[in-house]
């Protein structure tokens, strides 16, 4: 049981496993070898293999060191909230939703919703402050990128309003 609580042991094993996955799956199936390679070191998979072996070995080294040093109780972070993981999960959900909505609604609307939601989640309760920030910041960024930097930012549903036509 203690071994499972030994964070470094688990991190080392995870990294070593990642090295193994690269060696056994990702490199053989993810790297297309040319029919003929003049020298072994010129092969497209030579260098990634070398790095993956290093990852495996370093991961094992972390685990071995952690095992030898034994389990040390992780100190709880005093500033980490009780509902921290719930809140962090919400941030990930908001960000994923934003990524999915960017194409449909456009950058301005998606960003407005994201800023408002994240400000509220972060603890800001003054709506008179959230509203202007959530509206002005995305519009200002939009016009900067489009007009000054000439980068076409997708306007989405606001296309007729922002671009015209």
């Amino acid at each position: 049981m203690n071994l499972l609580k030994n964070k470094d042991l688990m991190v080392g094993l995870l990294l070593a496993l990642l090295g193994l996955v690269f060696l056994a799956v990702l490199i053989p199936f993810g790297i297309v070898e040319p029919k003929k390679v003049r020298y072994l070191a010129m092969s497209p998979s030579f260098y990634p293999r070398l790095v993956a072996v290093a990852l495996l070995l370093f991961g094992v080294a972390i685990s071995v060191r952690a095992y030898i040093q034994g389990y040390t109780a992780n100190e709880t972070d005093p500033s980490w909230r009780q509902d921290a993981w719930f809140r962090v999960s919400l941030v990930f959900i908001f960000l994923t939703a934003m990524a999915l909505l960017l194409g449909q609604l456009g950058f301005v609307i998606s960003s407005t919703i994201a800023i408002a939601a994240l400000c509220y989640l972060a603890g800001e309760r003054r709506l008179w402050l959230i509203a202007p920030i959530a509206i002005i910041a995305p519009i200002a960024l939009y016009f900067f990128f489009v007009k000054v930097a000439s980068i076409p930012i997708p306007a989405g549903v606001l296309k007729s309003l922002l671009v015209g036509g």
Partner: protein, 494 residues
């Protein structure tokens, strides 16, 4: 000679040049400070405005944007941990912890002083040693660059803190991620898995933003709203004493920048990381690096800006653009029927001297623009996190998209943000990942090109004094790292 200098002065000393150069520095600083807007993008966006200008005026505008852009990248790196350029990610390592301590103004000031000093030294090197440095730079073939990058990678130990093994794993992951895309020699796919967007490899800006900016912000949502540490240095800028205490580091970093900048294809990031590593090695407080050490900011920024003048050496002396920005500037020369190289020094020496005068003036402009903007910009650090972080998140999305106009890059940024957050929670340092990701392609390309040249013989990596010099430096660095790792008692408590 005197006649040429007088002619050059008359070419240079116009109001147009003075205004345009200052404007260029302002535009570059503003663009560089925006995540996703790189210096080459800023220079490319300004290029069309130079078509109707006099050659000297147009080129000075681009040079102003270039110099401002290099410095501007450090501003957001310090304030919101979102580097505007890859080289500025090194500045974020100590600059952002300083800002969190309430010393944003001091970090920004030091970044400015180091940048201006390095820029000035680099400009002087360009003017005085262009010929010598150009011929030295030409001696750098693939094996030499490979050994140089090998040495640069020793910086990973420096940014890993007391987590050397985890730092090495992090670097391995960065090297593996850098492999994604078409193989440069055989043209076959590597980790593409049928996704067309991956064929060109992962773009560094979304990776950089995702790995540096997002994890800290996401993490803050799980924390209690902390009252900001009230530093006695809050709002106080860097003093002359701070500058003098770091002058040695700044000058050394500048020379790293000058030498690496003169070698085509190296860029500012390796110079910044090398300067940082060397500063940490020689510092009295090496353990403070990465936790908000002023010397770390000075080292990173001097290395970063030390390349600003010297990248023009291969361009002006040999007609070889060392990076994308100088390639765009080469385009500006050609638009005005000028061909950089030895012939330009014979046929248009007055123009070269006029550019040199402008380049020297640009250091002064950089100082003025920087000093003025810091007063306003440093206020950003005072905005409450509950309002600032959501805006920064959205800025990150715009920045990731802007680089390639690609939603795929936005997705990559979010994925890297998730990976970065996991690394943060597992105490795996992210900086080695990023360094390896930036230097990895250079390492592999030069490794394989060297073997191609030598027909598979590894002796090519020991074939020149420069290679042997860098191997020796690498061995010395490794010995020091291993000794420190053995002497230090690693703890599981993180």
């Amino acid at each position: 000679m005197i006649d040429t200098i007088l002619q050059a002065f008359s070419l240079f000393a116009t109001w147009d040049n003075a205004i345009v150069l200052g404007l260029g520095v302002i535009i570059g600083t503003a663009m560089g400070a925006i995540p996703g807007m790189t210096t080459p993008m800023a220079v490319a966006l300004t290029l069309p405005f130079t078509f109707s200008m006099q050659p000297v005026t147009g080129i000075l505008l681009l040079l102003g944007v270039y110099k401002g852009g290099i410095y501007g990248g450090s501003i957001t790196a310090i304030l919101i941990n979102t580097p505007g350029t890859p080289a500025a990610s090194c500045t974020a390592l100590d600059g952002y912890p300083m800002a969190r301590r309430g010393e944003a103004r001091r970090a920004l000031d030091m970044a400015l002083y180091a940048s201006c000093t390095a820029d000035f030294i680099s400009n002087l090197s360009l003017i005085l040693f262009a010929g010598v440095l150009a011929s030295f730079a030409l001696k750098f073939g693939s094996p030499e660059v490979f050994t140089l990058i090998m040495f640069s990678l020793t910086v990973i130990a420096g940014v890993s803190g007391d987590q050397l093994l985890k730092g090495l794993c992090s670097a391995c992951l960065g090297l593996l991620l850098a492999v994604v895309g078409l193989d440069l020699i055989y043209g076959t796919n590597r980790f593409v898995f049928g996704e067309v967007n991956l064929m060109g490899g992962l773009t560094f800006i979304p990776v950089l933003i995702g790995l540096f900016a997002l994890p800290g912000i996401i993490d803050s949502f799980g924390r209690l709203e902390l009252s900001r540490d009230k530093s006695p240095l809050a709002g106080v800028g860097a003093t002359l004493a701070d500058y003098m205490a770091n002058l040695k580091t700044i000058v050394r970093g500048s020379f790293f920048g000058v030498i690496l900048g003169a070698i085509p294809g190296i860029g500012a990031a390796p110079a910044a990381f090398l300067s940082y590593a060397e500063a940490k090695r020689t510092s009295k407080n090496p353990n403070n690096f990465g936790k908000g050490e002023l010397e770390g900011v000075a080292a990173a920024e001097s290395g970063n800006n030390g390349v600003a003048g010297s990248t023009l050496i291969p361009l002006l002396a040999l007609g070889i653009p060392g990076d994308i920005t100088t390639a765009i500037i080469l385009g500006a020369f050609m638009i005005h029927d000028l061909r950089p190289g030895p012939m330009l020094f014979q046929e248009n020496l007055d123009l070269i001297y006029a550019l040199f005068m402008g380049i020297l003036l640009s250091s002064a402009y950089l100082f003025i623009v920087g000093k003025f903007s810091i007063r306003i910009i440093s206020k950003i650090a005072d905005i409450p996190h509950r309002l600032l972080f959501p805006i920064v998140l959205v800025l990150c999305v715009y920045g990731a998209y802007a680089y390639n106009n690609s939603m795929f890059d936005v997705a990559i940024m979010f994925i890297m943000g998730g990976i970065g957050f996991a690394m943060l929670k597992l105490s795996i340092p992210a900086a080695p990942f990023l360094i390896a990701f930036i230097l990895g392609p250079m390492l592999e390309d030069n490794f394989r090109q060297s073997l191609l040249l030598s027909k598979g013989s590894f002796s090519v990596f020991f074939s020149s004094p420069i290679c042997i010099f860098f191997w020796l430096l690498t061995i010395v660095a490794l010995v020091v790292i291993i000794r420190r790792a053995i002497q230090g008692k690693p703890s599981l408590k993180e």
